[in-house]
Symmetry: C2
Subunit: 283 residues, 2 copies
Amino acid sequence: METVLTSRTKQLAIGPDHPFCIIGERINPTGRKRLAELLAAGDFSVALEDAVAQVAAGAHALDLNAGVPLADEAALLRELVLRVQDAVDIPLCLDSSVVEALEAALAVCEGKPLVNSVTAEAARLERILPLVAAHGAAVIGVVTDEQGIPATAAGRLANARRIIEAAADHGIPPEDVVIDPLAMAVATDPAAPRVTLETIRLVTEELGANTSLGASNVSFGLPERGAVSAAFLTMAITAGLTAAIMNPLASETITAVRASELLTGKDEYAMRWITASRAAAHG
Amino acid sequence: METVLTSRTKQLAIGPDHPFCIIGERINPTGRKRLAELLAAGDFSVALEDAVAQVAAGAHALDLNAGVPLADEAALLRELVLRVQDAVDIPLCLDSSVVEALEAALAVCEGKPLVNSVTAEAARLERILPLVAAHGAAVIGVVTDEQGIPATAAGRLANARRIIEAAADHGIPPEDVVIDPLAMAVATDPAAPRVTLETIRLVTEELGANTSLGASNVSFGLPERGAVSAAFLTMAITAGLTAAIMNPLASETITAVRASELLTGKDEYAMRWITASRAAAHG
């Protein structure tokens, strides 16, 4: 299955027969105090620097989050979309838990973005899917439901199926739903990564859907987080993961993605590996 | 299944319920000109430095190879075993394709070593298994046969089964046969890593046997070999690999092993990860 996103002039295909899709995570004020302050003050300079830097580092799409406490998130996300799509020509991932913010962002976003996100909760499905359908967007379906995060891969698969079916009821084709299997911190739950990997495998095999996750959650609370995220991404790509919201400026994780593509046969004769290695040596 | 090796006073268990087993690869003159020259001249100083350094870096066992061209390999490997087991007290992996060298090394090796290796070729099985049995050693069974390296995982599994059955005929229990699924260079065969990973899965699930591989072959001919080996080891450990002959001094690969153990639930609550990370920060 192939999820196609577009920007003003560019097209991006996500799927098992395409390069692993790197969605830049940096434009997100959570835990970034200075970015939060600047965005709240209407200063987009750092956000735009982040956009350009992530594209230069190999991001295929950019996640945009404007969740600054006390700010008008709808107005801010709308403005962020307008600024970023004028600065870089790659597809966007509109990231908010506030429906009005998604609505405002979709209204001005050029091309076909990825809406981040809907869950399997009935109330969320009913609010967000009509928006996604009306704008011809794609959507990330996070496998949580009214009871929270299912402890088992089977439970997460059931929620993924529920989201894809609800999307179909709204006229959204299955290829436009990218499933987030949820990666939780291994420091607090030693079994968490295995449940996530099994969910990726099940969603890939049983539903044929594309998957995307936030690669940095798994290492939360640990030292040397980059190395944990790198190994986890390697495992997830082997299990079938097709995209991740991650930091393309973190060389350890980017290198792991490239090595994983090489070892899973997505980089025949190591052309991309060798090219990237040369670029790094001369960069 | 649990493969137990011993040194003079220490015991090492290899298996899915034990820490991933790191067999230090450094004491091998192949591609190390200076080491080859020193060994040929009867100078074991660098070999012993390598032994101590690898143990300090976390090796659980040491591979010893004395394959110096034109040298008397049997005499050299015998002497190497004597010197190394006086210097460090961890199990040894006696590495030679020359039967007489294995015989000479086994004669002086204290404890229960791992013989590296036998293949599924009838002539090799008939020569090497009696030696292994007579010394109560364990053995690495490489999945090649008279026709070479099987292209498919099913073919490699069949050879693994053949080796384990032949070992049983010689009174060697199945837990004392560690299967090498063979890792070939991805640069020349893009499908090679996937066949190896599938072989690990099949050998683990169908035979319950432990597996060990040479982790550096896969990156042969490529730049940034450490990153490729690290990602491959991560995938192999996820597939069930229980040991590798590798360089414990290469921090990139060692970090990948530790992260993989953490993510596959072999390092509950990240105790080893955090300890190793602190040691690295202060080391």
